[in-house]
Amino acid sequence: MQNKSCRGLIVFGLVLLSTGSLTGCLEIQQVAENAARGSGNERLAKTIHGGGNLIGGLLPIGYEEEQTIGQAIALQVIARYGGVYDQPNLTRYVNLVGRSVALTCDRADIEYRFAVLNHDSINAFAAPAGYIFVTRGLLKTIRNEAELATVLGHEIGHVTQKHILDIIQRSKQIAGVAEAGLAFANKNPDAFKNVIDGAVKKLLDEGLDQSKELESDRLGVIFASRVGYDPTAYVTFLDRLRTIKGDDQAFFKTHPNFSNRLSVVQSTIREQGLQATGILLADRFSRSSNGTL
């Protein structure tokens, strides 16, 4: 970015600032708020004001920290879902589709990386900082590249909206220790482990909130559609899952029921005017996955 050197200066200044003891938080908060307002950034001033305890935990998690959290969660996803399926051509194909969708997503400045999990269940997961997983079982259920693109678009949506970070930020564990940074993680490895285990439990066992899933469903078709994939492929895919499993025992155990999701996706396609381009690329999908699933 063009402002890198300026940004470096700021960070340097803030590091200096944070080397002192963190007393007088309220005073600092007031100063920050006034400074923001004084320089015409009313929005930032309001956010600082609303932040309550400005220092540490309640501030958003930065990308550097996000990567640490993403890696730790990714380790656990891989450990619990059969390890990464070692098929270089398939991995490359999934990354090409995923990165094509990510190219024009709402958070295109970070790296997205995709891996296939050697697991028969039908599942997909997104850890912070763009660590995205699909199971072999999910790929077996998919019929064409457009379906894969919308599924990956859904997972990319979790990352662009920072859904997991939001959960971590809201957790009492973090609020209690007031810090979630890397220094904190290194000095309090047990507390960091609790934070990560809590997020993993939410991601793999309990599932994210319904509203987060539906938001990702909407974004999934929008992102895939921007690249030119036919968004109705996602409707076909969700409908297939509903037929296989029905609405009662959610097949994606971590997701809301399919009928609900289908109606949200259909209204998104309608309201956003997403084009049914007919680009499904079934041949490329079967060629690329042929014999490996």
Binding site: Q71, P189, Y229
Partner: protein, 169 residues
């Protein structure tokens, strides 16, 4: 106002200055793709005249269906595919609050070893792996994921062969 408060006030002003929106005349759009090509004409067969980066400011000269004729701040004019631009400036990197928060939290600069695309788990996730019985094989898998590279050219070739993005008919 003590020293640290004064510094903080300075910081906030800096951050604010950085995030001020550019003043513009006419219609302004921003590159919304990680990388995007500007072409001499409004088809993907026309030669590339410039490679544009995420967040770059462009002035719209005219629109034609799914293509926009635009001018860069350096005065280069060409065509760009509409999916590659957006009317609002894409949020790049951390927002100002995240930057503030990160810096407050970073009391031990030596603990930071992670960087995008760098090989190796960072110290904190390595520590997590040690405490969670994560095998070497599983660590290597995340390591490979982190380092996995695909060039922009490969992605463009992939889009092209699928007639996706600006390569649509």
């Amino acid at each position: 106002m003590n020293h640290r408060c004064a510094l903080l006030a300075m910081m906030v002003s800096f951050v604010t200055a950085l995030t001020m929106t550019d003043t513009a005349f006419g219609e302004t759009v921003y590159v919304a793709a990680k990388t995007a090509q500007m072409r001499s004409g409004k088809t993907s067969l026309d030669p590339v005249v410039a490679s544009l980066k995420l967040g770059e400011t462009l002035e719209v000269v005219k629109r034609d269906n799914r293509w926009l004729q635009v001018q860069t701040t350096k005065g280069v004019t060409g065509w760009i595919y509409s999916s590659n631009v957006s009317a609002s400036k894409p949020a790049g990197g951390d927002n100002e609050l995240a930057a503030l928060g990160r810096s407050f939290r970073r009391t031990d600069a030596s603990s930071v070893t992670a960087s995008a695309g760098a090989r190796g788990l960072d110290k904190a996730s390595e520590g997590y792996a040690n405490r969670s019985g994560i095998t070497q094989q599983q660590r290597d898998a995340v390591d490979r994921m982190t380092a996995y590279k695909i060039s922009d050219e490969e992605i463009q070739a992939f889009l092209k062969s699928g007639r996706l993005g600006e390569y649509a008919e």
